[in-house]
């Protein structure tokens, strides 16, 4: 899969969760990846888009892009940092 020209290694959908499980589910998915791999996280507009990117950044991962899917959801594209 490719999003906005970026090759995606794994995707996770957190639109079925509410805070803080949105972040928890994304964090667990990131821990499954190897350093440097790319995760696309599908999330709802509103609270998740406000908070999840910040929490992931605080963990040291690199935010590459936030894509508006124009259906009330976004894809956050993250490169995994080392553990």
């Amino acid at each position: 899969m490719e999003l906005a020209g970026i090759k995606i290694d794994e995707t996770v959908d957190i639109t079925d969760k509410v805070c803080p499980l949105t972040f928890v589910k994304a964090k667990v998915a990131l821990e499954e990846l190897e350093e440097g791999e790319i995760l696309a996280i599908r999330m709802n507009d509103g609270e998740p888009v406000q908070n999840v990117p910040r929490s992931i950044k605080e963990e040291g991962h690199q935010i590459l892009k936030l894509l508006d899917n124009s259906d009330g959801t976004y894809y956050l594209i993250v490169r995994k940092a080392e553990d």
């Binding site: 499980l21 928890v24 499954e32 929490s55 605080e58």
Partner: protein
């Protein structure tokens, strides 16, 4: 093994922590901790370990639940009176968290059984109430190279220290030998404030959890004391590993386990 959705939710407050994460939570789920004594210390220790998702918890105790236990031994309830403490403890843990496998040993530790009891566990919690058991647990853990948390409580005071093989003094480095029989009152004679077990036993659970996670500093080389009357904690630095310790020194004189004469604090002894 990947965490289930339920586990992700149950342990979410752990997973969010940078120091834990899914990786740390899996370490907890894979860990095995033995709690010796299901009393004032062992109750909160075992319950916090169970809630934290420590995957295998062993409980060793030969006693039955007595009415005079219930002021502090919170893993047991009024409906458990007369029941084996290990059975009552197992029922409480099973009700708390189905992720935990509980192994019960309805026995007091002795020189005969302790090495076999501790051999399969990663960390041991001394929640006993008498000096012979405390020295026995120390010596066995030194010999078997097992980390353990020592603790003791009496009246309004409590203390704990952690032994990790090769990383500091053992209990016997500091305390040498059990005091003479009757020189020190048991908690049956002296009394103990119930919440003291909660404070110190929870700190023991914290030591075990941090050891499993490999996070932060442990009470190796330190004795933490708590005085509830003065409301003071003191972290006392201990002498580093003593070369002449009778059990963990360079030339140990104690090479076999000793059963000191028991003066057991069996409140409710019938």
């Amino acid at each position: 093994m990947a965490l289930t959705d339920d586990q992700m939710e149950r342990y979410s407050r752990h997973i969010i922590l940078k120091e834990v994460g899914a990786k740390g939570q899996k370490k907890l789920l894979d860990a095995k901790v033995l709690v010796i004594g299901a009393g004032g210390l062992g109750s909160p220790a075992a319950m916090y370990l169970a809630a934290a998702g420590v995957g295998t918890i062993g409980i060793a105790d030969a006693d039955e639940v007595d009415l005079s236990n219930l002021q502090r031994q919170i893993i047991h309830g009024t409906a458990d009176l007369g029941k084996a403490k290990v059975k009552s403890a197992k029922e409480t843990i099973n009700a708390m968290n189905p992720d935990v496998t509980v192994h019960t040993y309805r026995q007091f530790v002795t020189s005969e059984n302790i090495l076999e009891l501790i051999q399969d566990y990663d960390f041991i919690i001394d929640g006993t109430d008498n000096f012979p058991a405390k020295f026995l647990i120390n010596d066995a853990c030194v010999m078997a190279k097992k980390p353990f948390s020592h603790a003791g409580i009496i009246r309004f005071k409590g203390q704990l220290m952690t032994y990790v093989p090769g990383e500091g003094p053992c209990y016997r480095c500091i305390f040498k030998n059990p005091p003479p029989k009757d020189a020190v009152p048991t908690c049956k004679q002296a009394g103990v404030i119930g919440a003291m077990g909660g404070v110190i036993g929870s700190l023991q659970a914290m030591e075990a959890i941090k050891y499993i996670l490999g996070v932060g500093k442990l009470l190796t080389g330190y004795l933490l004391t708590y005085d509830a009357i003065e409301q003071e904690f003191h972290k006392v630095k201990l002498p580093s590993h003593t070369e002449n310790c009778a059990v963990c020194g360079d030339h140990p004189t104690i090479t076999e386990l000793i059963d000191y004469e028991q003066e057991v604090c069996t409140d409710g002894l019938k």
